[in-house]
């Protein structure tokens, strides 16, 4: 799903960042990030925990001041025109940022009032949103009794009390069950279809692949690749060869043979007896498989296909996407 539109001159980008740097003490959490996000698109910042995704969006949401570089959001500088930026964006933080002591309705009325609605309008708006996000039945229940999915929906609803031009979602589905996750995806698509630009962070490759029109892969505070998920897959090289062996004990032997014939690094696949390697010239695949049978290594399955985003991430960073996932204490 790549809705690439011609950039119309004169219309500022939703997000335009050049050389963004943010330091915390000695660590450069964001280390020279460039971003250009067109209006009306869904843009994904993909990276493991600690890659600098959250810091980047906090700078864009005017919550942090950059130590270097510039960023404009919807045409306004995030430092000099912070108030103008805040008037056009909504931020949904990583941990559902709603008041647990209040009920769902009160949370939305509170945000409505803080956006400047009169009491009556704030209440009406709250009812509309509760209805739209399947929360009408739970409106009078305290939020602490909500499930993770309900809490996340309320959180997103709170970000839409006034329809923002840019909606920033920090890991919108982290910790949700698959059904709630697909519900949130559907909501995000609806929001984008109505014209709001969506910037989301995620550490799930599947999520980025399914939702985002364009992606930036972030690692160690830098953008290491940018484009559609199609572009990124193509950038890794032609195809991926996946081989599953009959005998898991011979993987290292098979790995050496494949590496020699294909001229590429071979790495372990998702199962113990599988291997994966990128292939630039499909013609050598036959030779590679023949070399394995000559060595007496039985092949249970061999497939040649496009790389998955996981493999893209591995190829770009040299480590799997969720390797550095650490327990984050809320």
């Amino acid at each position: 799903m790549s809705r690439i539109r011609e950039e119309s001159p004169g219309e500022p980008l939703a997000v335009e960042a050049t050389g963004l740097v943010k330091r915390f003490g000695a660590t450069r959490a964001v280390d020279g990030i460039d971003l250009a996000i067109r209006r009306g698109t869904i843009f994904g910042l993909l990276g493991p925990n600690g890659a600098g995704k959250t810091t980047t969006i906090r700078v864009l949401a005017t919550l942090l001041r950059p130590d270097g570089g510039h960023a404009r959001v919807l045409g306004h500088d995030v430092v000099r025109e912070a108030a103008a930026v805040r008037a056009k964006i909504s931020l949904t933080g990583q941990f559902a940022s709603v008041d647990e002591d209040l009920n769902g309705r009160e949370n939305l009325v509170l945000i409505g009032r803080l956006q400047g609605f009169a009491w009556r309008d704030a209440k009406r708006r709250a009812e509309e949103l509760l209805e739209a996000f399947d929360l009408a039945d739970a409106a009078a229940r305290p939020v602490r009794a909500y499930s993770g999915g309900m809490r996340r929906r309320l959180d997103i609803a709170a970000s839409l009390v006034v329809t923002p031009e840019l909606l920033i979602l920090d890991e919108p589905t982290t910790g949700l069950d698959p059904r709630s996750r697909s519900h949130v995806w559907e909501i995000v698509r609806s929001i984008a279809a109505a014209g709001t630009t969506v910037l989301l962070t995620t550490q799930y490759l599947e999520e980025a692949d399914r939702l985002a029109d364009r992606l930036a892969v972030i690692d160690h505070g830098r953008v290491i690749a940018e484009g559609t998920s199609h572009d990124l897959k193509a950038a890794v090289g032609g195809s991926m060869l996946h081989v599953r062996l009959r005998d898991g004990a011979r993987t290292s032997e098979a790995s050496a043979i494949l590496g020699q014939v294909l001229g590429h690094e071979v790495h372990a696949g998702s199962d113990p007896a599988t291997l994966a390697a990128s292939v630039h010239d499909d013609a050598v695949v036959g030779d590679a498989l023949a070399a394995l049978s000559r060595a007496g290594i039985g092949i249970a399955e061999a497939t040649l296909g496009r790389p998955t985003l996981d493999e893209v991430f591995f190829a770009l960073t040299g480590h799997p996407a969720e390797e550095s996932e650490r327990e984050e204490v809320a």
Binding site: L63, A87, D101, L102, Q115, V162, T163, S190
Partner: protein
């Protein structure tokens, strides 16, 4: 791209989009309106979670009972006489204890990410702070009134009548507001809500046990007692007001500075 299989009704998308195209952005609220809205939130929290209030008042209440009946006779001849002396101190203690929740509440908001949301809204930025203090004012008044009501039941008879009691309560509130700036600072600095409580275990005994020559707490108890019983109080009252002004002058600017700081 494959479509996600979802059990949601087909009109879910329409409903979300319908809710989006709703109202236009109103003009940003005034500083007063934003602060009052945050105060409304504090009221809702008292309504939904009244334990916070009881938590901080039940201890002083039970200690009032305990001290009056256990030691009353021994210390002052009779429980009835003793409570005349004891209640002003208990009043001060219970209200000042409640001020910790200012810091706890603030820190919880930061911890839960609510502050990020508030700070990314187009509101007067200190509104969450000011609104929280408005709610705290009500909490302090309620816990003070609770202690006074129990005292009256137990035989507390203030010589200066209702006016004296209200003046004394007002003075306690002034001091509590000053002290709550300290808790705002602690709330903004502490890593977790629980550590705010830990701080209180360190700070309160220091305050109460301090025998320093200008202990504002001692003056506050003296002033409260004098106001309630119609004794000369102006010197002690002046001390309390000076101390409150000094605490506020030191801690409020620090609080606002920390509040504007990045997290």
């Amino acid at each position: 791209m494959s479509t996600v299989t979802t059990q949601e009704p087909l009109d879910a998308r329409d409903r979300v989009q319908g809710a989006l195209s709703g109202m236009r952005r109103p003009p940003a609220p005034s500083a007063l309106s934003a602060s009052l809205t945050m105060g409304w939130r504090a009221l809702l929290k008292i309504k939904h979670v009244p334990f916070q209030l009881f938590d901080a008042t039940i201890f002083p209440l039970t200690s009032t009972l305990l001290f009056t009946y256990l030691f009353g006779g021994a210390l002052a001849g009779s429980p009835r006489e003793y409570i005349q002396f004891l209640l002003p101190g208990i009043l001060m203690q219970s209200v000042v204890f409640v001020t910790v929740y200012t810091g706890v509440g603030l820190n919880t908001d930061i911890d839960k990410g609510l502050f990020d949301r508030f700070r990314s809204l187009p509101i007067w930025q200190p509104a969450p702070l000011v609104g929280a203090l408005l709610g705290d004012g009500l909490r302090y008044s309620l816990s003070g009134l609770l202690v006074i009501a129990l005292g009256l039941v137990l035989g507390f008879r203030p010589q200066a009548g209702a006016v004296g009691v209200l003046l004394a309560l007002a003075l306690v509130l002034v001091f509590a507001f000053a002290v709550s700036w300290i808790w705002v600072v602690v709330g903004l600095v502490a890593k977790r809500p629980e550590s705010v409580m830990t701080w209180s275990f360190v700070l309160f005994p220091l305050t109460f046990l301090s025998n320093a020559f200008v202990n504002p707490v001692t003056h506050l108890v003296t002033a409260t007692r004098a106001l309630m019983h119609g004794e000369p109080a102006s010197e002690a009252v002046a001390w309390v007001l000076v101390a409150s002004a000094a605490i506020t002058a030191v801690f409020a600017p620090i609080a606002f500075r920390l509040y504007g700081r990045e997290r």
